[in-house]
């Protein structure tokens, strides 16, 4: 029972030395922190609205404006946008949200305060993982709902595609979340955080085939986009939600699941290394 474990001394009837009392475990505290993070997130109504509305508005706009058939691919542009915006949406909920919120927490010394307690470092990051996981699932659900109801996307009925969705989703949000944590160390103040984080994300959306189909980009720009996870998340989600005939629109003319997995996994590892190298509990002032 959770209430009892806050007072181990009372439970045993003795007062053990600080040296003997058991420090609470990182996993359990991580769950607690996750619950707390979600509570805080959902209490900031404008943040919730912004987080979810942004991708929804852009999806609706783009998928409504561009709705013609894509030549030779057997799909409409709207369907294409649903898959791509899904990737951008979960990246905004992971990369952008974390990058901005951690920078603000650092600036407002929330991090420093946590560092002054015996909270294990892992519990903090686990809390963020839960936050990102829950909000990204919700984001995906909302976008897929709109995609199926308004823009003619049909949810796959076979398990293989859902499995693909699962690993693209998990690898994608993990890599993006880690990159978000890493970029949060870049802004000098909490106030400058959103500009520092949003600019690279916006650029990535343009060169990763979110707003503009990858085939319309100059080769060198598409090449740069292909270095980052967003392009591969888009491609992965397209392979899940579009018919195989649509693979012709990709640079390689196929879905390239192997390469997608490789790039996304590499970003998970690279993001982790970057986090470990750059994470700071204190602001720079």
């Amino acid at each position: 029972m959770s209430e009892a474990d806050t007072t181990p001394a009372a439970a045993t009837g003795t007062t053990p030395d600080a040296g003997e009392a058991v420090l609470p475990g990182a996993w359990r505290l991580g769950l607690r922190r996750g619950a707390l993070e979600l509570k805080q997130f959902f209490r900031q109504r404008d943040q919730v609205l912004f987080t979810f509305a942004f991708p929804v508005v852009f999806l609706t706009l783009f998928a409504s404006i561009f709705s013609d058939d894509v030549e030779g691919a057997g799909i409409t542009a709207s369907q294409l946008y649903v898959a791509s915006m899904l990737a951008a949406g979960v990246m905004s909920t992971s990369f952008q949200s974390l990058g901005i919120s951690i920078a603000i927490e650092r600036d407002e010394k929330v991090l420093r305060r946590l560092r002054g307690t015996p909270m294990p470092v892992a519990a903090y990051f686990l809390g963020k993982v839960w936050l990102v996981l829950v909000t990204c699932l919700m984001e995906a659900a909302v976008l897929l709902l709109i995609g199926t109801v308004a823009f003619g996307v049909s949810l796959p009925s076979d398990l293989t595609r859902w499995l693909t969705f699962g690993w693209v989703f998990l690898l994608g949000i993990t890599g993006c979340a880690l990159l978000g944590i890493a970029i949060s160390s870049l802004p000098r103040t909490g106030r400058s955080a959103s500009s520092v984080v949003v600019l690279p994300f916006l650029v990535l959306q343009f060169i990763s085939g979110v707003y503009i189909p990858i085939g319309d980009l100059p080769g060198w720009l598409a090449g740069i986009g292909a270095l980052f996870p967003l392009k591969w998340m888009c491609q992965g989600f397209r392979s899940v939600f579009l018919p195989d005939s649509a693979a012709v629109i990709e640079q390689a003319g196929s879905w390239e699941p192997g390469r997608t997995a490789l790039v996304l996994a590499a970003w998970c590892l690279g993001g982790l290394v970057l986090c470990l190298l750059t994470f700071r509990w204190h602001g720079r002032r």
Partner: protein, 284 residues
């Protein structure tokens, strides 16, 4: 001899060209309430941050509860309580949620309800932190500092922004914790506060300790001269510092016919001692 709660020798810290802490020694015994007194920029906060393990140092040795704060682990942090100079609590949570959550970090926390009433936030327990006044937030800071039942409590300017009533109340909290045996180190620039709380205090200026001892002893040692002030018949104010004020007043009585205008004999307060120590500082 029992181990010191805080043992600092030759502490140095530089920020670029500025030497913030310049060869500081501190020995604080377990159970003691120790005041670190000094003007802004004297190096108080830097010193406390080094004791907390939140700032590195350029020289000297530091032992806090038997460990070097720079490399201390979770176990060590569970024995330390910190009250920061600037507030930093999650705005969207309620007081109760926050205190209960922080209690979970510690192996043997106090009861969150007790701590909330200890700092006088009972009525605000269900309020979001963003709805609290500045003084109430500071009291929450105090609550979060003591929730883990620390052996050593480090308070950096804990009552800045308190109204007088809240300050008195905070003093009661500190005294209560001290009675329970908590070692307390507090920085302050309120003399009244240092005098009311500290068993011993050190006056720090330009990164060095210029005086150290019990408040009464400090006043005795540095404040044996009295100041006699009066107004001359031509209207100019005069004052004289003397170890023998009675003789000075006798001289004035002889010189003036009847009442001496504006006569005042002042014994130095701790504040006078402090101002002198920090104003002229290092030559003492």
């Amino acid at each position: 001899m029992t181990e010191l709660a805080v043992d600092v020798r030759g502490l140095r810290k530089r920020y670029g060209d500025l030497t913030a802490v310049d060869g500081l020694d501190l020995r604080i015994r377990p159970g003691e309430v120790f005041g670190l007194l000094g003007p802004n920029g004297a190096g108080k906060s830097t010193t406390v941050e080094i004791l907390q393990g939140h700032r590195g140092r350029d020289g000297g040795t530091v032992r806090v509860l038997g460990a070097d704060p720079a490399t201390a682990d979770r176990r060590w942090r569970s024995r330390i309580g910190i009250v920061w100079q600037d507030e930093s609590a999650p705005a969207e949570l309620t007081v109760r949620e926050t205190v209960e959550h922080f209690a979970r970090y510690y192996p043997k926390p106090r009861d969150p309800r007790d701590v909330i009433s200890l700092v006088g936030l009972d009525e605000k327990a269900g309020s979001r932190i963003k709805e609290l006044s500045g003084g109430q937030r500071r009291r929450l800071d105090v609550a979060l500092g003591v929730i883990g039942s620390p052996e050593l409590l480090l308070l950096d300017e804990p009552t800045t922004g308190f109204d007088p009533a809240a300050r008195r109340r905070f003093w009661e909290v500190v005294r209560l914790l001290a009675r329970e045996g908590t070692t307390i180190v507090l920085t302050t620039h309120y003399l009244e506060e240092a005098e009311a709380l500290a068993d011993r205090l050190a006056v720090i200026t330009a990164g060095r300790i210029v005086a150290e001892g019990e408040p009464a002893a400090l006043r005795e040692r540095f404040g044996h001269e009295a100041t006699v002030t009066w107004t001359e018949p031509d209207g100019t104010a005069r004052s004289e510092r003397t170890a023998t004020p009675t003789r000075t007043v006798a001289g004035l009585i002889a010189r003036f016919d009847g009442e001496i205008p504006g006569l005042r004999v002042g014994r130095p307060t701790l504040e006078d001692v402090y101002l002198e120590l920090t104003g002229q500082g290092a030559d003492r």
